[in-house]
Protein backbone atom coordinates (compact mmCIF):
# COMPACT_ATOMS: atom_id res chain seq x y z
CA UNK A 1 0.00 0.00 0.00
CA UNK A 2 2.49 2.63 -1.04
CA UNK A 3 1.70 5.71 -2.99
CA UNK A 4 3.63 8.43 -4.72
CA UNK A 5 2.41 11.86 -3.79
CA UNK A 6 3.12 14.56 -6.31
CA UNK A 7 0.62 17.25 -5.35
CA UNK A 8 3.34 19.77 -4.60
CA UNK A 9 5.88 19.89 -7.41
CA UNK A 10 8.79 20.58 -5.08
CA UNK A 11 8.42 17.38 -3.10
CA UNK A 12 7.75 13.92 -4.39
CA UNK A 13 7.92 11.24 -1.74
CA UNK A 14 6.93 7.73 -1.00
CA UNK A 15 4.29 7.58 1.67
CA UNK A 16 2.34 4.97 3.60
CA UNK A 17 0.01 4.94 6.60
CA UNK A 18 2.95 4.01 8.82
CA UNK A 19 5.19 6.90 7.68
CA UNK A 20 2.33 9.41 7.90
CA UNK A 21 1.41 8.14 11.35
CA UNK A 22 4.98 8.39 12.53
CA UNK A 23 5.43 11.93 11.17
CA UNK A 24 2.09 12.94 12.68
CA UNK A 25 3.06 11.66 16.12
CA UNK A 26 6.34 13.58 15.93
CA UNK A 27 4.50 16.74 14.92
CA UNK A 28 2.01 16.42 17.78
CA UNK A 29 4.83 15.90 20.25
CA UNK A 30 6.58 18.98 18.86
CA UNK A 31 3.52 21.22 19.16
CA UNK A 32 2.97 20.01 22.73
CA UNK A 33 6.56 20.87 23.65
CA UNK A 34 6.44 24.25 21.89
CA UNK A 35 3.07 25.03 23.41
CA UNK A 36 4.04 24.39 27.02
CA UNK A 37 6.01 27.62 27.63
CA UNK A 38 3.49 29.56 25.52
CA UNK A 39 0.65 28.29 27.73
CA UNK A 40 2.56 29.45 30.81
CA UNK A 41 2.94 32.90 29.24
CA UNK A 42 -0.77 33.04 28.41
CA UNK A 43 -1.68 32.05 31.97
CA UNK A 44 0.66 34.80 33.20
CA UNK A 45 -1.19 37.26 30.95
CA UNK A 46 -4.53 36.05 32.33
CA UNK A 47 -3.24 36.52 35.90
CA UNK A 48 -1.92 39.99 35.07
CA UNK A 49 -5.28 41.08 33.65
CA UNK A 50 -7.15 39.61 36.62
CA UNK A 51 -4.87 41.45 39.06
CA UNK A 52 -5.12 44.74 37.18
CA UNK A 53 -8.92 44.52 37.24
CA UNK A 54 -9.34 43.23 40.79
CA UNK A 55 -6.84 45.44 42.66
CA UNK A 56 -7.91 49.11 42.54
CA UNK A 57 -4.36 50.42 42.81
CA UNK A 58 -3.40 48.43 39.69
CA UNK A 59 -6.26 49.79 37.55
CA UNK A 60 -3.87 51.96 35.57
CA UNK A 61 -2.12 48.82 34.37
CA UNK A 62 -5.07 47.21 32.62
CA UNK A 63 -3.87 48.23 29.17
CA UNK A 64 -0.36 46.95 29.83
CA UNK A 65 -1.72 43.68 31.21
CA UNK A 66 -3.96 43.36 28.14
CA UNK A 67 -0.92 43.90 25.92
CA UNK A 68 0.98 41.17 27.79
CA UNK A 69 -1.95 38.81 27.29
CA UNK A 70 -2.21 39.77 23.62
CA UNK A 71 1.53 39.21 23.10
CA UNK A 72 1.37 35.76 24.68
CA UNK A 73 -1.70 34.82 22.65
CA UNK A 74 -0.05 36.06 19.45
CA UNK A 75 3.02 33.96 20.19
CA UNK A 76 0.77 30.94 20.67
CA UNK A 77 -1.02 31.73 17.42
CA UNK A 78 2.34 31.72 15.63
CA UNK A 79 2.97 28.22 17.03
CA UNK A 80 -0.47 27.12 15.83
CA UNK A 81 0.13 28.58 12.35
CA UNK A 82 3.39 26.59 12.14
CA UNK A 83 1.52 23.50 13.36
CA UNK A 84 -1.15 23.87 10.67
CA UNK A 85 1.40 24.39 7.91
CA UNK A 86 3.23 21.23 8.97
CA UNK A 87 -0.09 19.41 9.30
CA UNK A 88 -0.81 20.27 5.66
CA UNK A 89 2.53 18.79 4.68
CA UNK A 90 2.20 15.63 6.78
CA UNK A 91 -1.47 14.67 6.44
CA UNK A 92 -2.40 13.54 2.95
CA UNK A 93 -5.60 12.13 1.59
CA UNK A 94 -4.57 9.15 -0.53
CA UNK A 95 -6.94 6.78 -2.31
CA UNK A 96 -5.94 3.36 -0.91
CA UNK A 97 -7.17 1.55 -4.03
CA UNK A 98 -5.33 3.55 -6.69
CA UNK A 99 -2.53 4.94 -4.53
CA UNK A 100 -3.28 8.36 -5.99
CA UNK A 101 -3.01 11.37 -3.68
CA UNK A 102 -6.23 13.38 -3.66
CA UNK A 103 -4.62 16.28 -1.83
CA UNK A 104 -3.38 17.75 1.42
CA UNK A 105 -5.36 19.27 4.30
CA UNK A 106 -5.69 23.01 4.83
CA UNK A 107 -7.18 22.87 8.33
CA UNK A 108 -8.50 26.31 9.36
CA UNK A 109 -7.10 27.97 12.47
CA UNK A 110 -10.46 28.56 14.15
CA UNK A 111 -12.07 25.16 14.58
CA UNK A 112 -12.41 22.65 17.41
CA UNK A 113 -9.79 23.23 20.11
CA UNK A 114 -8.68 26.53 18.56
CA UNK A 115 -12.05 28.29 18.39
CA UNK A 116 -11.93 29.84 21.87
CA UNK A 117 -8.26 30.68 21.38
CA UNK A 118 -9.01 32.64 18.18
CA UNK A 119 -11.83 34.51 19.94
CA UNK A 120 -9.57 35.32 22.91
CA UNK A 121 -6.92 36.68 20.54
CA UNK A 122 -9.42 38.92 18.74
CA UNK A 123 -10.96 40.23 21.98
CA UNK A 124 -7.53 40.90 23.49
CA UNK A 125 -6.67 42.89 20.35
CA UNK A 126 -9.79 45.01 20.77
CA UNK A 127 -9.06 45.43 24.50
CA UNK A 128 -5.63 46.88 23.71
CA UNK A 129 -6.75 48.95 20.70
CA UNK A 130 -10.02 50.41 22.12
CA UNK A 131 -9.92 54.21 22.00
CA UNK A 132 -13.41 55.63 22.34
CA UNK A 133 -14.28 55.17 26.03
CA UNK A 134 -11.25 52.90 26.02
CA UNK A 135 -10.35 53.37 29.69
CA UNK A 136 -13.87 52.47 30.83
CA UNK A 137 -14.38 49.62 28.36
CA UNK A 138 -10.95 48.06 28.75
CA UNK A 139 -11.52 46.23 32.06
CA UNK A 140 -14.64 44.59 30.63
CA UNK A 141 -13.01 43.68 27.31
CA UNK A 142 -9.72 42.54 28.88
CA UNK A 143 -11.65 40.56 31.48
CA UNK A 144 -13.59 38.85 28.69
CA UNK A 145 -10.39 38.13 26.78
CA UNK A 146 -8.73 36.68 29.90
CA UNK A 147 -11.78 34.51 30.57
CA UNK A 148 -11.76 33.21 26.99
CA UNK A 149 -7.99 32.64 27.06
CA UNK A 150 -8.28 30.66 30.30
CA UNK A 151 -11.14 28.61 28.88
CA UNK A 152 -9.21 28.06 25.63
CA UNK A 153 -6.27 26.59 27.55
CA UNK A 154 -8.28 24.64 30.12
CA UNK A 155 -11.07 23.32 27.88
CA UNK A 156 -9.86 23.69 24.28
CA UNK A 157 -6.22 22.68 24.98
CA UNK A 158 -4.97 23.70 21.51
CA UNK A 159 -1.34 22.71 22.27
CA UNK A 160 -1.70 19.59 24.40
CA UNK A 161 -4.72 18.02 22.65
CA UNK A 162 -5.05 19.75 19.28
CA UNK A 163 -7.85 19.17 16.78
CA UNK A 164 -9.32 16.04 18.44
CA UNK A 165 -12.09 15.43 15.89
CA UNK A 166 -9.89 15.90 12.84
CA UNK A 167 -7.15 13.67 14.25
CA UNK A 168 -9.61 10.98 15.36
CA UNK A 169 -11.08 10.80 11.86
CA UNK A 170 -7.71 10.97 10.15
CA UNK A 171 -6.19 8.27 12.38
CA UNK A 172 -9.24 6.10 11.74
CA UNK A 173 -8.63 6.53 8.01
CA UNK A 174 -4.93 5.63 8.40
CA UNK A 175 -5.85 2.54 10.43
CA UNK A 176 -8.37 1.42 7.80
CA UNK A 177 -5.83 2.05 5.04
CA UNK A 178 -3.18 -0.01 6.88
CA UNK A 179 -5.56 -2.85 7.75
CA UNK A 180 -5.60 -4.32 4.24
CA UNK A 181 -9.41 -4.46 4.30
CA UNK A 182 -10.19 -2.87 0.92
CA UNK A 183 -13.85 -2.13 1.69
CA UNK A 184 -13.10 -0.51 5.05
CA UNK A 185 -10.24 1.48 3.52
CA UNK A 186 -12.45 2.73 0.67
CA UNK A 187 -15.17 3.75 3.13
CA UNK A 188 -12.71 5.57 5.37
CA UNK A 189 -11.19 7.32 2.36
CA UNK A 190 -14.65 8.47 1.18
CA UNK A 191 -15.29 9.90 4.65
CA UNK A 192 -12.00 11.74 5.05
CA UNK A 193 -12.06 13.00 1.46
CA UNK A 194 -15.59 14.33 1.95
CA UNK A 195 -14.45 16.13 5.12
CA UNK A 196 -11.38 17.50 3.33
CA UNK A 197 -13.27 18.84 0.33
CA UNK A 198 -16.48 20.04 1.95
CA UNK A 199 -15.22 21.11 5.36
CA UNK A 200 -11.50 21.59 6.06
CA UNK A 201 -10.45 22.81 2.62
CA UNK A 202 -13.77 24.46 1.70
CA UNK A 203 -13.42 28.18 0.88
CA UNK A 204 -16.43 28.71 3.09
CA UNK A 205 -14.56 27.52 6.20
CA UNK A 206 -11.88 30.10 5.52
CA UNK A 207 -14.41 32.93 5.20
CA UNK A 208 -17.59 32.13 7.18
CA UNK A 209 -16.15 31.55 10.71
CA UNK A 210 -13.66 34.46 10.67
CA UNK A 211 -16.39 36.88 9.59
CA UNK A 212 -18.62 35.65 12.41
CA UNK A 213 -15.78 35.82 14.96
CA UNK A 214 -15.03 39.43 14.01
CA UNK A 215 -18.71 40.25 14.42
CA UNK A 216 -18.85 38.45 17.80
CA UNK A 217 -15.98 40.54 19.13
CA UNK A 218 -17.51 43.79 17.86
CA UNK A 219 -20.82 42.83 19.47
CA UNK A 220 -19.03 42.03 22.73
CA UNK A 221 -17.64 45.57 22.73
CA UNK A 222 -21.13 46.90 21.91
CA UNK A 223 -22.58 44.96 24.83
CA UNK A 224 -19.90 46.27 27.18
CA UNK A 225 -20.74 49.85 26.16
CA UNK A 226 -24.47 49.18 26.64
CA UNK A 227 -23.80 47.84 30.14
CA UNK A 228 -21.80 50.99 30.93
CA UNK A 229 -24.65 53.15 29.61
CA UNK A 230 -27.19 51.36 31.78
CA UNK A 231 -24.99 51.53 34.88
CA UNK A 232 -23.66 55.07 34.49
CA UNK A 233 -26.67 56.58 32.66
CA UNK A 234 -24.54 58.41 30.10
CA UNK A 235 -25.80 58.64 26.53
CA UNK A 236 -22.32 58.84 24.98
CA UNK A 237 -21.84 55.15 25.77
CA UNK A 238 -24.87 54.43 23.62
CA UNK A 239 -23.11 55.92 20.58
CA UNK A 240 -20.12 53.69 21.25
CA UNK A 241 -22.42 50.68 21.56
CA UNK A 242 -24.03 51.61 18.24
CA UNK A 243 -20.68 52.12 16.50
CA UNK A 244 -19.47 48.71 17.62
CA UNK A 245 -22.76 47.02 16.69
CA UNK A 246 -22.77 48.44 13.18
CA UNK A 247 -19.16 47.29 12.85
CA UNK A 248 -20.24 43.77 13.75
CA UNK A 249 -23.45 43.71 11.72
CA UNK A 250 -21.70 43.84 8.36
CA UNK A 251 -19.49 40.73 8.81
CA UNK A 252 -22.35 38.93 10.61
CA UNK A 253 -24.73 39.41 7.69
CA UNK A 254 -22.12 38.60 5.05
CA UNK A 255 -20.88 35.57 7.01
CA UNK A 256 -24.35 34.12 7.49
CA UNK A 257 -25.38 34.61 3.87
CA UNK A 258 -22.11 33.09 2.64
CA UNK A 259 -22.79 30.05 4.84
CA UNK A 260 -26.19 29.37 3.31
CA UNK A 261 -25.28 28.30 -0.26
CA UNK A 262 -22.54 26.09 1.17
CA UNK A 263 -25.03 24.43 3.54
CA UNK A 264 -27.48 23.83 0.68
CA UNK A 265 -24.79 22.00 -1.34
CA UNK A 266 -22.78 20.27 1.39
CA UNK A 267 -25.68 19.24 3.63
CA UNK A 268 -28.05 18.18 0.85
CA UNK A 269 -30.49 15.67 2.32
CA UNK A 270 -29.38 16.32 5.90
CA UNK A 271 -31.36 17.91 8.72
CA UNK A 272 -29.85 21.38 8.80
CA UNK A 273 -32.80 23.69 8.08
CA UNK A 274 -34.19 24.91 11.43
CA UNK A 275 -31.40 23.03 13.25
CA UNK A 276 -30.41 24.50 16.64
CA UNK A 277 -27.39 26.44 15.42
CA UNK A 278 -29.21 27.83 12.38
CA UNK A 279 -32.18 28.80 14.60
CA UNK A 280 -30.04 30.65 17.12
CA UNK A 281 -27.98 32.39 14.43
CA UNK A 282 -31.22 33.58 12.84
CA UNK A 283 -32.43 34.81 16.22
CA UNK A 284 -29.18 36.70 16.83
CA UNK A 285 -29.29 38.31 13.38
CA UNK A 286 -32.98 39.22 13.76
CA UNK A 287 -32.33 40.86 17.14
CA UNK A 288 -29.33 42.85 15.93
CA UNK A 289 -31.33 43.96 12.90
CA UNK A 290 -34.14 44.98 15.25
CA UNK A 291 -31.66 46.86 17.47
CA UNK A 292 -30.16 48.80 14.58
CA UNK A 293 -33.64 49.53 13.23
CA UNK A 294 -35.00 50.52 16.63
CA UNK A 295 -32.17 52.96 17.09
CA UNK A 296 -33.57 55.02 14.20
CA UNK A 297 -35.86 56.78 16.62
CA UNK A 298 -33.50 57.04 19.54
CA UNK A 299 -34.58 60.58 20.32
CA UNK A 300 -38.20 59.55 20.78
CA UNK A 301 -39.15 59.31 24.48
CA UNK A 302 -38.30 55.93 25.94
CA UNK A 303 -36.71 54.57 22.76
CA UNK A 304 -33.25 54.40 24.31
CA UNK A 305 -34.64 51.81 26.71
CA UNK A 306 -35.98 49.76 23.78
CA UNK A 307 -32.61 50.03 22.01
CA UNK A 308 -30.71 49.05 25.17
CA UNK A 309 -33.03 46.09 25.82
CA UNK A 310 -32.60 44.90 22.22
CA UNK A 311 -28.82 45.28 22.49
CA UNK A 312 -28.70 43.16 25.66
CA UNK A 313 -31.11 40.57 24.22
CA UNK A 314 -29.10 40.35 21.01
CA UNK A 315 -25.87 39.73 22.91
CA UNK A 316 -27.57 37.06 25.02
CA UNK A 317 -28.64 35.46 21.72
CA UNK A 318 -25.00 35.59 20.57
CA UNK A 319 -23.81 33.72 23.68
CA UNK A 320 -26.61 31.17 23.27
CA UNK A 321 -25.72 30.76 19.59
CA UNK A 322 -22.15 29.93 20.54
CA UNK A 323 -23.21 27.51 23.28
CA UNK A 324 -25.80 25.82 21.04
CA UNK A 325 -22.92 24.19 19.13
CA UNK A 326 -22.08 22.24 22.27
CA UNK A 327 -25.56 21.78 23.77
CA UNK A 328 -28.03 21.04 21.00
CA UNK A 329 -27.26 18.11 18.68
CA UNK A 330 -27.49 18.51 14.93
CA UNK A 331 -25.48 18.63 11.75
CA UNK A 332 -24.02 22.05 12.69
CA UNK A 333 -23.08 20.96 16.25
CA UNK A 334 -20.67 18.82 18.20
CA UNK A 335 -23.10 18.08 21.04
Amino acid sequence: MRATWACRPYTVRMTSPATISSELSALLAAVTVAGRPVAILVWAGVAAVALAIAVPSFRGWVRLASAVLLGALALGEAVLIWFHIRLGQVCLSVDPQTGRAAGAFAVPLWIESEKLYALALLLATVAVAARRHGEELRPLLAGGAALLAGAALAVGRPFSAPLPDFLAQYRGYLAAWASGDAAAAAQAFAGIEGSRRFFYNAWYMWVHPPLLFVSYVAFAASFAATVLMLVRKRSSYEQTAYRCARLGYLPLTAGMIIGMPWAIVAWRGEAWWWSGKVNMSLMMWALYTAYLHGRLYLRRPGMWRVAAALSVLAFAALVLTYLTTYLVPGVHSVA
Binding site: Q239, Y242, R243, R246, Y249, L250, T253, A254, I257, I258, M260, P261, I264, A271, W273, W274, S275, G276, N279, M280, L282, M283, M284, A286, L287, T289, A290, L292, H293, G294, R295, L296, Y297, L298, R299, R300, V306, L310, L313, A317, L320, T324, L327, V328, P329, G330, A335
Partner: protein, 204 residues
Amino acid sequence: MERRRTAWDFALMMATVALLVALGAQSLLGTLYAWWAYRNEPGWEATGYPAFVTVMNAIAAPLAVALVVVMGLCVPKRLFSRRALVAVSAVLVGVGVSVAAVEDSVQAGLTAYLALAALLQCAVVVLTLADAGGLAYMAEGRAAKVGSGLLHLGFVVFALTVVALQSSSAMLPAFVASALLLAGGSALSFYSRGSSSERSGTST
Protein backbone atom coordinates in the same frame (compact mmCIF):
# COMPACT_ATOMS: atom_id res chain seq x y z
CA MET B 1 -47.59 66.65 6.83
CA GLU B 2 -44.01 66.02 7.93
CA ARG B 3 -45.28 64.88 11.32
CA ARG B 4 -47.66 62.38 9.72
CA ARG B 5 -44.84 61.03 7.57
CA THR B 6 -42.63 60.60 10.67
CA ALA B 7 -45.42 58.79 12.52
CA TRP B 8 -45.91 56.52 9.50
CA ASP B 9 -42.16 55.78 9.32
CA PHE B 10 -42.11 55.11 13.06
CA ALA B 11 -45.02 52.69 12.77
CA LEU B 12 -43.26 50.83 9.95
CA MET B 13 -40.07 50.67 11.97
CA MET B 14 -41.85 49.37 15.08
CA ALA B 15 -43.70 46.77 12.97
CA THR B 16 -40.35 45.64 11.55
CA VAL B 17 -38.82 45.41 15.03
CA ALA B 18 -41.84 43.48 16.38
CA LEU B 19 -41.72 41.00 13.48
CA LEU B 20 -37.97 40.48 13.88
CA VAL B 21 -38.35 39.90 17.63
CA ALA B 22 -41.18 37.44 16.94
CA LEU B 23 -38.96 35.58 14.46
CA GLY B 24 -36.21 35.52 17.11
CA ALA B 25 -38.63 34.16 19.73
CA GLN B 26 -39.75 31.44 17.32
CA SER B 27 -36.12 30.47 16.71
CA LEU B 28 -35.45 30.25 20.46
CA LEU B 29 -38.53 28.13 21.12
CA GLY B 30 -37.68 25.91 18.16
CA THR B 31 -34.16 25.36 19.51
CA LEU B 32 -35.46 24.55 23.00
CA TYR B 33 -37.90 22.06 21.54
CA ALA B 34 -35.17 20.43 19.39
CA TRP B 35 -32.91 20.21 22.46
CA TRP B 36 -35.71 18.57 24.45
CA ALA B 37 -36.60 16.18 21.59
CA TYR B 38 -33.02 15.04 21.04
CA ARG B 39 -32.77 14.20 24.75
CA ASN B 40 -36.13 12.53 25.23
CA GLU B 41 -37.04 10.93 21.90
CA PRO B 42 -34.41 8.47 20.66
CA GLY B 43 -33.98 8.67 16.88
CA TRP B 44 -35.90 11.96 16.74
CA GLU B 45 -33.78 13.29 13.87
CA ALA B 46 -34.98 10.44 11.65
CA THR B 47 -38.58 10.25 12.87
CA GLY B 48 -39.64 13.66 14.18
CA TYR B 49 -37.39 16.15 12.42
CA PRO B 50 -39.33 16.39 9.12
CA ALA B 51 -42.54 17.20 11.02
CA PHE B 52 -40.64 19.74 13.14
CA VAL B 53 -39.38 21.49 9.99
CA THR B 54 -42.93 21.58 8.60
CA VAL B 55 -44.29 23.16 11.79
CA MET B 56 -41.42 25.68 11.96
CA ASN B 57 -41.97 26.62 8.31
CA ALA B 58 -45.69 27.02 8.94
CA ILE B 59 -45.06 29.35 11.90
CA ALA B 60 -42.33 31.32 10.14
CA ALA B 61 -44.21 31.74 6.87
CA PRO B 62 -46.75 34.36 8.08
CA LEU B 63 -43.98 36.24 9.91
CA ALA B 64 -41.77 36.20 6.83
CA VAL B 65 -44.65 37.26 4.59
CA ALA B 66 -45.53 40.09 6.98
CA LEU B 67 -41.88 41.16 7.01
CA VAL B 68 -41.82 41.14 3.24
CA VAL B 69 -45.05 43.18 3.14
CA VAL B 70 -43.60 45.73 5.59
CA MET B 71 -40.49 45.85 3.47
CA GLY B 72 -42.71 46.13 0.45
CA LEU B 73 -44.24 49.20 2.05
CA CYS B 74 -40.81 50.49 2.98
CA VAL B 75 -39.39 50.11 -0.53
CA PRO B 76 -41.87 52.13 -2.58
CA LYS B 77 -42.40 54.72 0.17
CA ARG B 78 -39.35 56.44 -1.22
CA LEU B 79 -41.09 56.91 -4.56
CA PHE B 80 -44.74 57.54 -3.81
CA SER B 81 -46.96 59.67 -1.63
CA ARG B 82 -48.72 57.85 1.21
CA ARG B 83 -51.98 57.45 -0.72
CA ALA B 84 -50.21 56.19 -3.84
CA LEU B 85 -48.05 53.98 -1.63
CA VAL B 86 -51.04 52.13 -0.22
CA ALA B 87 -52.42 51.69 -3.74
CA VAL B 88 -49.09 50.44 -5.12
CA SER B 89 -48.63 48.10 -2.16
CA ALA B 90 -52.16 46.77 -2.62
CA VAL B 91 -51.43 46.18 -6.31
CA LEU B 92 -48.21 44.34 -5.42
CA VAL B 93 -49.98 42.14 -2.87
CA GLY B 94 -52.85 41.64 -5.36
CA VAL B 95 -50.45 40.47 -8.06
CA GLY B 96 -48.81 38.08 -5.59
CA VAL B 97 -52.15 36.65 -4.43
CA SER B 98 -53.39 36.34 -8.05
CA VAL B 99 -50.26 34.49 -9.14
CA ALA B 100 -50.54 32.24 -6.08
CA ALA B 101 -54.18 31.48 -6.95
CA VAL B 102 -53.57 30.88 -10.66
CA GLU B 103 -50.47 28.74 -10.09
CA ASP B 104 -51.93 27.16 -6.93
CA SER B 105 -48.62 27.85 -5.23
CA VAL B 106 -47.77 30.21 -2.36
CA GLN B 107 -44.16 30.07 -3.51
CA ALA B 108 -45.09 31.33 -6.98
CA GLY B 109 -47.08 34.19 -5.45
CA LEU B 110 -44.24 35.19 -3.16
CA THR B 111 -41.80 34.98 -6.06
CA ALA B 112 -43.94 37.33 -8.15
CA TYR B 113 -44.33 39.74 -5.23
CA LEU B 114 -40.62 39.75 -4.42
CA ALA B 115 -39.61 40.09 -8.07
CA LEU B 116 -41.80 43.21 -8.37
CA ALA B 117 -40.43 44.58 -5.09
CA ALA B 118 -36.89 43.99 -6.39
CA LEU B 119 -37.69 45.81 -9.63
CA LEU B 120 -39.09 48.76 -7.69
CA GLN B 121 -36.05 48.84 -5.44
CA CYS B 122 -33.76 48.73 -8.49
CA ALA B 123 -35.62 51.78 -9.81
CA VAL B 124 -35.14 53.50 -6.43
CA VAL B 125 -31.40 52.80 -6.48
CA VAL B 126 -31.04 54.06 -10.07
CA LEU B 127 -33.01 57.23 -9.29
CA THR B 128 -30.95 57.78 -6.14
CA LEU B 129 -27.73 57.35 -8.10
CA ALA B 130 -29.03 59.82 -10.68
CA ASP B 131 -29.83 62.20 -7.81
CA ALA B 132 -33.44 62.50 -8.97
CA GLY B 133 -35.79 64.54 -6.80
CA GLY B 134 -38.89 63.27 -5.01
CA LEU B 135 -37.33 60.35 -3.14
CA ALA B 136 -38.13 60.20 0.56
CA TYR B 137 -35.25 59.14 2.78
CA MET B 138 -34.57 59.57 6.46
CA ALA B 139 -30.87 59.46 5.71
CA GLU B 140 -28.87 62.51 4.77
CA GLY B 141 -26.21 62.47 2.10
CA ARG B 142 -26.24 60.75 -1.27
CA ALA B 143 -23.89 57.90 -0.27
CA ALA B 144 -26.03 57.04 2.76
CA LYS B 145 -29.17 57.10 0.59
CA VAL B 146 -27.59 54.83 -2.03
CA GLY B 147 -26.42 52.56 0.82
CA SER B 148 -29.93 52.40 2.23
CA GLY B 149 -31.33 51.57 -1.21
CA LEU B 150 -28.74 48.83 -1.78
CA LEU B 151 -29.41 47.41 1.71
CA HIS B 152 -33.13 47.07 1.02
CA LEU B 153 -32.45 45.65 -2.45
CA GLY B 154 -30.10 43.11 -0.84
CA PHE B 155 -32.82 41.98 1.58
CA VAL B 156 -35.33 41.57 -1.25
CA VAL B 157 -32.83 39.64 -3.44
CA PHE B 158 -31.96 37.42 -0.46
CA ALA B 159 -35.64 36.68 0.20
CA LEU B 160 -36.18 36.02 -3.52
CA THR B 161 -33.24 33.59 -3.55
CA VAL B 162 -34.52 31.68 -0.51
CA VAL B 163 -38.07 31.52 -1.87
CA ALA B 164 -37.44 30.83 -5.55
CA LEU B 165 -33.84 29.97 -6.42
CA GLN B 166 -32.71 27.35 -3.88
CA SER B 167 -32.72 24.54 -6.47
CA SER B 168 -31.58 26.69 -9.37
CA SER B 169 -28.11 27.04 -10.86
CA ALA B 170 -28.50 30.77 -10.21
CA MET B 171 -28.60 30.09 -6.45
CA LEU B 172 -24.94 30.74 -5.68
CA PRO B 173 -24.57 33.91 -7.81
CA ALA B 174 -27.85 35.22 -6.35
CA PHE B 175 -26.67 34.58 -2.77
CA VAL B 176 -23.34 36.23 -3.52
CA ALA B 177 -25.14 39.20 -5.12
CA SER B 178 -27.37 39.61 -2.06
CA ALA B 179 -24.32 39.33 0.24
CA LEU B 180 -22.50 42.01 -1.77
CA LEU B 181 -25.56 44.28 -1.81
CA LEU B 182 -26.13 43.88 1.93
CA ALA B 183 -22.45 44.32 2.80
CA GLY B 184 -21.97 47.27 0.42
CA GLY B 185 -25.28 48.81 1.47
CA SER B 186 -24.43 48.43 5.17
CA ALA B 187 -20.99 49.93 4.64
CA LEU B 188 -22.31 52.96 2.74
CA SER B 189 -25.29 53.37 5.01
CA PHE B 190 -23.39 53.05 8.28
CA TYR B 191 -20.06 54.69 7.50
CA SER B 192 -20.73 57.49 5.04
CA ARG B 193 -22.14 59.89 7.61
CA GLY B 194 -20.48 62.07 10.16
CA SER B 195 -20.63 61.43 13.89
CA SER B 196 -23.15 64.20 14.47
CA SER B 197 -25.85 62.39 12.54
CA GLU B 198 -25.14 59.15 14.44
CA ARG B 199 -27.07 60.50 17.35
CA SER B 200 -30.33 59.94 15.50
CA GLY B 201 -29.50 56.37 14.51
CA THR B 202 -28.95 54.33 11.38
CA SER B 203 -30.11 55.36 7.96
CA THR B 204 -32.97 53.66 6.20
